[in-house]
Symmetry: C2
Subunit: 206 residues, 2 copies
Amino acid sequence: MPLAHHDATGESVQVRIEIVIFDGFDELDAFGPFEVLSAAGFDVELVVVDKPGPVRSMRGVRLDVPGVLGRPDGIVAVGGGWMNRAERGSWAQAQRGVLPARLADAAVSARWTASVCTGGMLLAAAGLLTGRNATTNRAAFDELRGYGVNVIAERVVDDGDRITAGALSAGLDLGLWLTERELGAERAADVAASIDFSLRSPVWRR
Amino acid sequence: MPLAHHDATGESVQVRIEIVIFDGFDELDAFGPFEVLSAAGFDVELVVVDKPGPVRSMRGVRLDVPGVLGRPDGIVAVGGGWMNRAERGSWAQAQRGVLPARLADAAVSARWTASVCTGGMLLAAAGLLTGRNATTNRAAFDELRGYGVNVIAERVVDDGDRITAGALSAGLDLGLWLTERELGAERAADVAASIDFSLRSPVWRR
């Protein structure tokens, strides 16, 4: 069943979510929310910010990614390679600047922008978390504060149009929370049962 | 730090784990244990059973997989597309027969063979679970019993050289349990903390 929301004209449109990956991305950061949000029935795609083509995960899995970040309803940024300052990964992407700039641009028209793990640092580098409540990998809490963010040590922090999750497996919680928020608790419970998972702790809400 | 065990000659060898994927595989089934076992320091690779090349997940993610199932220390079979009898997926692979035959062959020399979700049905189709204690996706319990398996409704069932996990997110528990079994509870706890996860329930052991 395709999921839909109603736009300003009252027309029913499908909810599209793009998960942004890059060389050095962490696999579970991306595939956790991808699985949950897809199972919930959203139109979900892994995308890149540059030209379509090969992407290599932080552990060498090779993907062929045809999609480029466009104007989705929801955006999920992922992490990988931040704390160790890897040459490929979220930290390298923050230094390069192209991904944060594109996230900032896409966030203008998106209904919400979310992150898993140090994907939150990319949102911060994009200026999307300044003065906001957010979380990231615990090891990056101090760095996140350096971007003017009020860090909340919970698995999922919902600050309205910015929703951030903690390390790795919290991406599953993020997916379930977004499902509950957009489609209701019943649908979220069905999806949780299908993957044999449940929210580990209450979501922090502004 | 490369992990090693000692072979019959006392020589130290690295522990190699191969996770077998195929067209229509479920993403989290594969990437859950991939993340955990890689984070633990094992040599882990996604592999195919036929010739190397493109693989498309059940939701259309395209992977370029160079590795073919060989003679690893550990094997993980994954699911996807069993219950709905999809044209691509674990059920289609069971009908085709090549993957179960290769799993049966590779299991002869492996120290253990494991599965996530309906990957357990592939192990059953390979004859690897006959007379054993095992689990799979709850919706396939009756079918698993049809293969002469004693079904145990737990997230992870350890029957010695056959270790099976339930649906989807239980692949994370499988990875943590294999880490604890091979490398000790301290290492498993470190990995669990790094992905902000913990075993959801005790592992069933024979």
